[in-house]
């Protein structure tokens, strides 16, 4: 049986974030370039670059930016990271398959969806680019996840974004399940990984 022993909370794709998902928590640590619109008096001890005058550029993590952002009071204004700007968007529209999405920020789709909270005028184009990139890269992910049985796929997987890695893994598990059934290994009883981890088995049991 291929089922895991526990089910981790999946990341919330799109503009929602799952509170308990580890992937979303790691995503919210990504830093965004922002411009301050008002002063932060006497907070200079928190970080050396905290400004005393408005209009300074600095970088804050996503969770802080989301908390501080307000349309009416203008505490901070967010600039787009360069991956979502016009230049990179044309690259993605031309050929998404050659881009190393892991290097662009391992949470390209997640962060892009969160950026839509910040009311930038380019929001529709960003959302459109995200969708088109995903669709274009889907073919490659499907082909390699369904055909690479027992091979070393790390060269391909390291260019994938986290969302695509999860899809790759589910494709691989479908393939592995079928292949192991065909070989007749599906009906063999093996010790569960949890029990092996307890390491209470005698050495003679574990070694072949």
């Amino acid at each position: 049986m291929d089922t895991q022993s526990y089910f981790p909370v999946p990341p919330g794709v799109g503009m929602e974030e799952n509170f308990l998902s580890l992937d979303d928590i790691l995503l919210s640590h990504e830093r965004l370039p922002i411009r301050t619109e008002c002063t932060f008096p006497q907070l200079g001890f928190l970080e050396k670059s905290i400004p005393e005058s408005p209009g300074t550029k600095m970088e804050l993590p996503l969770w802080l930016t989301k908390g501080l952002y307000e349309r009416k009071r203008k505490v901070v204004s967010v600039e787009l990271p360069k991956v979502y700007k016009e230049g990179w968007r044309t690259v993605f529209n031309a050929d998404p398959n050659v881009v190393d999405l892991h290097k662009m920020g391992p949470y390209y789709y997640g962060l892009g969806s969160q950026m839509l909270h910040f009311d930038s005028p380019e929001n529709p184009e960003i959302a459109q680019t995200l969708l088109q990139t995903f669709i274009a890269r889907f073919r490659r992910t499907m082909d390699s996840s369904q055909n690479a049985y027992n091979e070393d796929t790390s060269a391909f997987v390291e260019r994938l974004d986290c969302l695509e890695k999860a899809l790759f893994r589910s494709g691989q598990s479908g393939l592995n399940g079928f292949q192991s059934w065909e070989k007749g290994q599906a009906s063999q009883l093996t010790a569960s990984s949890l029990v092996l981890n307890y390491r209470k088995r005698k050495i003679t049991d574990v070694q072949p």
Binding site: L130, L131, L175
Partner: protein, 175 residues
């Protein structure tokens, strides 16, 4: 769903056997299994046929579609058509594996049959991937796939559903 669960469902299919023992009619919850007379062919479910074969109490007769010429025709037809052709049996993959593993002595040309069925399977899976790819890249709302068997659906189900979920949420960003 697991591949083993699909195999379990496949074991309900009927197959012809020739028993070498005699037994009166058996009344089971799923239905009656008629009186067994030695030397007379009778239809039984696959699970019973395999059990009797393993105890050496019967001889299994291969189903009509498990024949080299018929499978070759089916394979060539599958390669020519773009859509999925009607399949010999809704559980052809599982029946092939079960019958060829346990009763290969009763089935002539077992190796060729195995190769042919694998060829048919590979062609159908390739067509399935092609249609999944065009489904996603054109963002269609629904697709109609006739003549797909449960095993083929099972291998691609997890991946396709996850992809469609992601695509749906990315699309909801546009609003």
């Amino acid at each position: 769903m697991d591949a083993s669960e699909v195999e379990f469902l496949a074991e309900k299919e009927m197959v012809k056997i020739i028993p070498n023992f005699s037994l009166d009619k058996v009344f089971l919850i799923g239905g009656d299994l008629g009186p067994f007379n030695p030397g007379l062919p009778i239809d039984v479910p696959v699970w019973l046929a395999l059990n009797l074969k393993q105890r050496q109490k019967c001889r299994i007769i291969p189903p009509e579609w498990m024949d080299v010429e018929k499978l070759e025709e089916m394979r060539d037809l599958e390669r020519k058509e773009d859509m999925f052709t009607p399949v010999p049996s809704p559980y052809y993959m599982e029946l092939t594996k079960l019958l060829l593993n346990h009763a290969s002595d009763n089935i002539p040309k077992a190796d060729e049959i195995r190769t042919l069925v694998k060829d048919i399977w590979d062609t159908r899976i390739a067509k399935l991937r092609l249609s999944a790819d065009s489904f996603i890249s054109q963002q269609e709302a629904y697709a109609k796939l006739d003549n797909l068997t449960l095993m083929e659906i099972n291998t691609i189900r997890a991946f396709l559903l996850d992809t469609l979920n992601c695509m749906y949420k990315l699309r909801s960003n546009l609003q």
